[in-house]
Symmetry: C2
Subunit: 220 residues, 2 copies
């Protein structure tokens, strides 16, 4: 039998549904309107980001908010260079790839660069055998922001098409730090009804059953 405390832990049905709805309707957005993001909403999204779980409580994340148009333009050029290189590396899908919109850097209301902090070696808790858990923490933080943005009616896109060394140089990210995300955040005309790469027939997702095993890995 459940005790009172436990029932209290659970959100009521409309609140549970709201959480599931944010998860379901969140999209990796590439199409934005240029309207600015209200500062109080940005503040809430940054707090949501900062409340993420993080290995050994090391808070490995740093955010660089881009407010200068000149820097925004330079970031756009860096991504465009990598887009071309990715296209080449994709060989027979090159042409198809080049028709996809992969970022909204010049349109979105807010442009945020997320980087791993320098000076992470001293953090051993939970990272002795899996040092990349710092990146995992950063991803959890971005997912928090993504879901909160969806609830606010704002779109967010995580762009990873860039050379981290070139971006580090532009933003003066020190040795040991590493940019891992260019986040486009802003108003959108409409959210994609399915992931854009599915809508554009780039790829079709697998159903849940395909990724579930029991007790050991099964050959698929």
């Amino acid at each position: 039998m459940k005790n009172t405390k436990e029932i209290e832990h659970r959100f009521n049905e409309p609140d549970r549904e709201a959480v599931y709805r944010a998860i379901k309707l969140r999209r990796d957005m590439r199409h934005f309107k240029t309207d600015p993001v209200p500062p109080e909403i940005l503040e809430r999204l940054l707090l949501a980001f900062h409340q993420a779980p993080n290995v050994g409580l090391m808070q490995p994340w740093r955010i660089i908010r881009i407010t200068e148009n000149d820097i925004r333009n330079k970031i756009s050029v860096i991504v465009e260079e990598e887009r071309k290189k990715t296209a080449k590396a994709l060989n027979e899908r090159q042409k198809e790839f080049l028709q996809l919109k992969v970022e909204g850097i010049l349109d979105c209301g807010e442009l945020l660069i997320v980087a791993l902090a320098d000076d992470r070696e001293k953090h051993i808790f939970g990272r002795r055998t899996l040092p990349d858990m710092d990146l995992a923490s950063v991803a959890c933080a971005i997912q928090n922001m993504w879901l909160a943005a969806r609830a606010e009616g704002l779109g967010l896109g995580w762009v990873s098409l860039f050379d981290p060394d070139v971006l580090s140089e532009l933003l003066e990210i020190p040795e040991g730090g590493e940019p891992v995300a260019i986040l486009c955040l802003g108003h959108v005309e409409a959210f994609y009804s399915a992931p854009m790469l599915e809508e554009k027939n780039w790829v079709k997702g697998m159903p849940l059953e395909k990724i579930m095993f029991e007790n050991k890995w099964q050959k698929t």
Copy 2:
């Protein structure tokens, strides 16, 4: 002026608050009750996981659900071994570390191992310069599950204290695959009111201001 469509994108206030509440109250749990997780709730949490953003829609994640007690016990031993090694590596904080509860593997209602799939090299989109974006996708999926679990009143803990090679051998994870999380999921007596590592004075978190820069990295 905002158009109707845009207003429709935004969740109403109680629903927005529910999303922010899940983000705020989610904890990395180590203390569990042994009661089983109802199957219909587990199913919803797995779907939430599977709805996460993922680079190039590659769905790099696999989940191994542990239902055999013998395997659960062996996983517990693997984590205990790494706990001791981590303690040693922590030098002067060794004793303090050993007093922390770092996992609830033998108590939690559900034990799930999350792994990166093998055969990931062919996925280039968004990973040419940042191959670890697959891990980032997996972390987003775990964060989805974490928040949904909190809304359901269930605790989840991400344990990364293990040797991935030893765990791979136990679970027959093939070459190229990699376990990245032991997830303890289950009922809890109470959620920590602050991160457990703060409550236990292991570390104190930084405020948001400390991680925010503008236009370029600033020395802190």
